[in-house]
Symmetry: C2
Subunit: 262 residues, 2 copies
Amino acid sequence: MSVNGQQTMAAKTEGRIGALETSLRVLEALKRLEGAGVTELAKELHIPKSTVYSHLNTLRQNEYVVRDGDTYRVGLKFLDFGEHARNRMRIYDVAKPQVDHLAEKTGELANLLVEEHGEGVYVYRARGAQAVRVDTHAGMRVKLHCTSLGKAILAHLPEEQVDAIIERWGLPERTPQTVTDREVLEEELAAIRERGYAQDDGERLSGLRCVAAPIIGQNGYAVGAISVSGPMSRMKGERFDEEIPELVQSAANVTELNMTYS
Amino acid sequence: MSVNGQQTMAAKTEGRIGALETSLRVLEALKRLEGAGVTELAKELHIPKSTVYSHLNTLRQNEYVVRDGDTYRVGLKFLDFGEHARNRMRIYDVAKPQVDHLAEKTGELANLLVEEHGEGVYVYRARGAQAVRVDTHAGMRVKLHCTSLGKAILAHLPEEQVDAIIERWGLPERTPQTVTDREVLEEELAAIRERGYAQDDGERLSGLRCVAAPIIGQNGYAVGAISVSGPMSRMKGERFDEEIPELVQSAANVTELNMTYS
DNA sequence: AACGAGCGTTCCGCACGCCAGTACGGGAGC
DNA sequence: GCTCCCGTACTGGCGTGCGGAACGCTCGTT
């Protein structure tokens, strides 16, 4: 009995163009399924085949999806738009050399994250010689509370914005180490403000430790964060508590300076 | 008297979902203008403000565009989709280390290009120590006939496909050096097949020289190409005609082998 | 301080195109 | 050979996207 009104307008009745939202749902399913056929998508989304077909066809004619036999896939045109979006960000230009430097110096994985719509978005990663292989990739979104990068940013945002973010996204548990209690988080954010950097001890991925420092903009609030991630076996003792934090903070500071004066 | 039917359906009456095509046009304009406001887009596209607004609003609610004051911009979500599309390509996984190696070894800019819809798409670039700064970026599309990468691919495609590509895209001139004559191109493609690699002497960008070798798939046709690009001052003599071609061909060969056996 | 030009946003009615059900053709597999 | 299931094509009714016009707001100008 799925009335069409239900599924078309399910999410937010305030968004206007329903046909576009259908297209976006198709695209997202295509990504989630890593390529799929018309019927498969129709079942996944509870939408008639013919509708899915029309949307896919339009997307294909515009080269946003490609067809490989009977399966449709997300096309490379998205990479064009994505790189474009990234290249237009000042923070990317400025922070990239610092992230590269961090990766080389530590041999680990170095990251740049910004906040967008209350989530964290990885903008750039650089892999050092012994960098771990993790699931992150540029453009990926993560919840802010469960990474050192996100916590570094949260610690330097207006209080009401932090409230709004937590209300919208909650504090979902990713591993047993994830901070899921509001008060505990607040305390940690205060500590981060105090010492100037954030740590993550397997809070998003078990066994992975990170150190992050915020990049503060001209208005005094965070515009992003830089981090180094590595396995627990290498990220411990003095290296985890002094050496890496110093390097990361230095990279963040240089980025801040270059952001404002150039 | 712009009847709405005219502009909505102007391009191809075969594509079904008109609303989606409007959205895509808005997005493309947003990229072309590097961010814009509602009115600006409406003028650019000859579409009523309110329509543009609805589309932008829907895109924004779904986080495909972001708003910065009064200007809308392409959002980072495209990077997520783009990286996803790229990571699902076998050729990317396999060729990436080779491209990295080429960049390091030559100090120049190394590239990986694939064909999609008759155009070339840069999938990956690696910058060596002295690499030139050019306008290319991952995801960017170029015409095949005006780069060494494209010519290397064209030289190893079925004849009828080459015909179809040239018929669709023509041989537009990018610089005075661009090959714009069909017969000249055919001769050059034959020469490329003969010697195994392609050269580009400022045919897309004046002053830039490139050497490319095709990556041949199991069906005997090109699935991509690898290249090294550099300024004319460094790309000449023996280095341009022997040293670099050898390195590039070696990288392409290793990629071919790893594609088939793993 | 008052003005007006420009912006993004909202409102609303009509007709047009999207949704969805159905039907067709072809390839793979018990 | 049959059946199943795929992607594709067709058709029509009703919901909805389009487009013109009007609304506040923030500017720069007088």
